[in-house]
């Protein structure tokens, strides 16, 4: 099922007051432009794991509370 990476990015955006800054922090941590993830981006379990870890750091949470 494609689009999981975009869901994670959208979740971070929606939960951040400074959403552009949050996305930039994800970009810096993953060294990639996360905004290029679309609904059609194929799933990548390894990248997804890193993205979730980065998202938890950016959101300042221990748990990632999005059901994918």
């Amino acid at each position: 099922m494609a689009g999981r990476l975009k869901k994670i990015v959208d979740h971070v955006k929606a939960r951040s007051f400074f959403n552009n800054l949050a996305i930039s922090m994800l970009n810096m941590k993953l060294n990639t432009d996360v905004e290029r993830f679309s609904d059609n981006t194929p799933d990548d379990p390894e990248l997804e794991k890193k993205l979730i870890e980065a998202a938890k750091e950016v959101l300042g949470k221990d748990k990632f509370d999005l059901v994918l």
């Binding site: 929606a14 552009n20 930039s24 922090m25 970009n27 810096m28 905004e35 679309s38 609904d39």
Partner: protein
């Protein structure tokens, strides 16, 4: 990320955006041809494309967008004097709304059916930006439409190029043509033409100054009315992008809710500032605040331009969208000439 590392990461983008915006503001004092926002945006595209690896700009430009859009809108509110807006003739409000409808419709129809552009979001962004408040509106629309970088850049280019053609046509060509067929424009009629059809406050001011200084105040008041529609139009664009976006990416429900909350917040800032400044007599301080407004809002535009990849601009879709905007302006100008001639004396 440690706080000190974050601060270091923010500085380059922030500093370059500030420098470009400051340059734009300083140049705007040289004459009406130098619009501060235009200089900041075009300058940032040029500078951004001289930089090969842009990752060091990410954090600073992101902070500009997040922090300075709300601050910029607050300061924009201090520039709007509703006391002048409510003095306008009722016909002006109707003509402004008709023009907004025409901008949206013509751009959408041209892009969708004439040029076969399937990403409708760029049409809605361009329609909104041209009809309401150019670059400022585009900056506000980004979170509401979850607009991507190339959609924003395409919209900004359409506004800038359409604005350039429109301002000189409005100042030099249209009055001459009207003079031949309909008689000389009164100052009120010219103010209405500039104020209801041009997409940027700077363009309205320039067109009015080029024609007759006496038309500036009323033209800007009309433009302020259009500017006050910035948040309602953003919500409208969000609705359109979600339901008729075509091939454009849709927003998740969570993101939509976040965008609406953000909209309420910035609406309170903009309208709060403008109402306070209008009705408490604080409007006398607007001129003092104006340079800060130009620099701060200019930084948000510079932060968009810095990350823009010029190679991506040279896409057929972007050029066609610019053409649609120009066609839309021409139709809006034509209809406005007739309605202004009939209803504004």
């Amino acid at each position: 990320m440690k706080k000190i590392n974050m601060l270091i990461a923010i500085l380059p983008g922030l500093f370059i955006a500030f420098a470009l915006s400051f340059l734009g503001e300083r140049l705007s004092h040289k004459g009406p041809l130098y619009d501060a926002f235009f200089v900041a945006f075009i300058g940032s595209i040029i500078v951004g494309n001289l930089i090969r690896k842009k990752s060091f700009l990410w954090m600073g430009t992101a902070l500009c967008k997040d922090l300075l859009i709300p601050v910029g809108l607050l300061l924009y509110g201090t520039q709007v004097n509703f006391a002048e807006v409510i003095k306008l003739k009722p016909a002006i409000f109707v003509i402004s709304l008709i023009n907004a409808f025409l901008y949206f419709s013509v751009i959408y129809l041209c892009n969708r059916y004439l040029f076969k552009i399937t990403n409708n979001k760029i049409s809605f962004l361009s329609g909104g930006a041209n009809s309401i408040c150019g670059v400022a509106a585009t900056a506000v629309y980004v979170p509401f439409a979850d607009a991507k970088e190339d959609e924003v850049t395409g919209t900004l280019l359409a506004i800038v190029i359409t604005g350039l053609i429109a301002v000189f046509s409005t100042a030099y060509v249209i009055p001459k043509l009207m003079g031949k067929f309909m008689g000389t424009l009164t100052n009120d009629q010219y103010s209405a033409l500039a104020g209801t059809t041009l997409n940027q406050t700077g363009a309205v001011k320039l067109a009015a100054q080029l024609y007759n200084e006496k038309t500036v105040k009323v033209a800007l008041a009309i433009k302020n009315f259009r500017t006050s529609l910035i948040i309602p139009s953003a919500l409208f664009i969000m609705f359109l992008a979600q339901n008729w976006g075509g091939t454009a990416e849709k927003m998740s429900a969570e993101l939509k809710k976040s965008a609406v909350r953000y909209g309420i917040f910035i609406a309170l800032l903009f309208f709060g500032a403008s109402l306070i400044f209008t009705f408490t007599g604080m409007h006398k301080y607007s001129k003092v605040i104006e340079p800060w407004f130009k620099v701060i809002f200019g930084m948000t535009l510079a932060s968009v331009g810095l990350l823009c990849n010029i190679k991506k601009i040279f896409k057929k879709e972007i050029f066609l969208n610019i053409l649609s905007s120009i066609i839309a302006w021409a139709i809006v100008a034509y209809v406005s000439v007739i309605t202004i001639y009939l209803y504004v004396k």
